[in-house]
Amino acid sequence: MAIIEATDLRKVFRSVVRGPGLGGAVRALFARDHEEKVAVEGVSFGLDAGELVGYIGPNGAGKSTTIKMLTGILVPTSGTVRVAGIAPFDHRAANAQNIGVVFGQRSQLYWDLPLRESFELLRAIYDIPLDRFRQNLAHFCEILDLERFMGTPVRQLSLGERMRGDFAGAMLHDPKIVYLDEPTIGLDVIAKEAIRTFIAEVNRERGTTVILTTHDLADVERLCRRIVLIDEGRVIYDGPLERLRSEYGTHRTLVVTLAEASSSEVVIPGATVVHHEMSVVHLRFDRRTTAAEELIRRVTERHTISDLAIVEPDIESIVRRIYTDGYARPEALPS
């Protein structure tokens, strides 16, 4: 059953155009030119209850604008959204009860007070029954290891601890859907792992639907089966992560360590040298046109090698390629 349905969502921002510098600013006081900027250009997708989806795109692609329309913060210019059967911006309060939101760069905790005071306020705001509240809090304390710093003022917490607090805060009222906007930004490896484990567990155990926007594609690789890629306000890919990998990850890299360091150029038919330093050469090849065995044979015919490895493309490099090469425009993309 679809819990989120977005159809043809569009959002146009209107802003004043100013010339550069002070002169431009003064002129803008008198003559105002308005500029329309299309942030989201017809985005449609559906999410089933219990899905965990990565919503990915470069800066300015329209990710946060979409999320803000789904959460009811922004009113779409056109198109419709249904979240758990409700149009979020028409019924903000009712929608808010169904959702949890974590903004990685914006805490909802009270800076000056211990974590538990923020949780008490959230209990009142979301009208959480006491036994449910205690049960959830105990559970989150356990997985997120909050007990140690429940009594510490939030301003004295590390970023990792604060984020864990924020996650617990967003989940206390048992939301059906959580929106996570850059939840691991700025965190160290251990804190990232703790957060990822928590997200996976909440999704699995409670069946919470999760939409994750992130720049850290390791989050996506670790958590999401499905991803939605967005660029310039349009969805350019929507499907399983694996398919993206097999369709777009057609390039492999053969890393060869030559027996002796060479500065002379290495030329191998069917592959391009993308990196060459001392004795290590990175050769990129397309697996559809060049078989790995064949390539290795060609290399060994020409050079003596001491080691070699084939590197599969990670999702990050695939996504980077889609954005920079620009060949995955909507019309060219099977979705």
């Binding site: 309060a93 939101v101 909802q108 306020l121 009142a124 705001i125």
Partner: protein, 264 residues
């Protein structure tokens, strides 16, 4: 909602007490600040032993009404004037994902609010009432809180309307500052001393006159023949407050749909 509001005050007070030294310094500052405001008023009003038929004691009583209503507004609704700031820095997003009415959610966002100003204003009002020799009876005790609440709503309505403009213009500091200056200027003296157009504005457009002038007139048994309003207008303040806030709230709802947020 009641629980949220109670919790909001609990957090406010806890936050204030979290920084004990700051709190004590703040209290000392408030005493000096309000003390000097009243002293200034005393000096200014004493220059005019009588103004438009009002003597010094009566003007002090009138000022007390404004001070009390304004202090009540500052204590309960101070978050409303920070709306433009939250719109600009994007923190307003958080308010919109709360399962509460967005105005209520704004008002009940804890900060570091303490009812010191209100306590001082109440103290001043008590003194001024006694000084002006106003007869305190049951009607006075019942009506004054209602009038003060109405006055605070008038203040809130104007503040909210200005803050709402920031959905369009982002920065509204200048307008906010001008309005506060006007309010402080025009609530100090009986409005009878101003020209007719100013009196009409203060009665019908920005109804500051209902915060202090008309109520004071009512309790001092004065009449103002220059305005087409009977003496009973003095107890209409709660009604004026409710109408003002209803209009401002309607405007606010229109503005909300215009919210653009920050970033894309």
């Amino acid at each position: 909602m009641v629980r949220v509001y109670r919790e909001y005050w609990r957090i406010n007070i806890l936050t204030t007490l979290e920084y004990r030294e700051n709190f004590l310094m703040w209290l000392a500052f408030m005493l000096v600040y309000h003390g000097s405001a009243i002293a200034t008023l005393y000096v200014v009003l004493h220059q005019f032993p009588s103004m438009n038929g009002w003597d010094f004691r009566q003007m002090a009583f009138m000022y007390g009404f404004w001070m009390l209503a304004h202090a009540l507004h500052n204590t309960l609704f101070s978050n409303v004037s920070s709306i433009p700031e939250h719109i600009r820095d994007g923190n307003f997003d958080r308010t919109l994902v709360r399962p509460l009415d967005s105005l209520f959610a704004t008002i009940a966002t804890p900060g570091q609010i303490f009812p010191d100003e209100l306590l001082l204003a109440a103290f001043y009002f008590g003194i001024a009432t006694w000084y002006a020799g106003v007869h305190v009876d049951l009607a006075f005790v019942v009506l004054v809180p209602l009038i003060v609440a109405g006055g605070a709503l008038i203040d809130l309505a104007i503040d909210l309307a200005i803050s709402t403009l920031s959905f369009w213009f982002v920065r509204v500091d200048a307008l906010k500052w001008i309005t506060l200056q006007l309010e402080e200027e025009f609530t100090r003296y009986p409005i009878g001393i101003y020209s007719r157009s100013v009196r009409l504005v203060l009665t019908f457009a920005l109804p500051f006159a209902f915060m202090n002038y008309f109520p004071a007139m009512y309790f001092l048994h004065k009449t103002d023949s220059s305005l087409p309003l009977p003496a009973i207008a003095g107890v209409l303040t709660p009604l004026v407050g409710i109408v003002s806030i209803a209009l401002a709230y309607g405007f606010w709802r229109v503005g909300l749909d215009r919210y653009q947020g920050v970033g894309h």
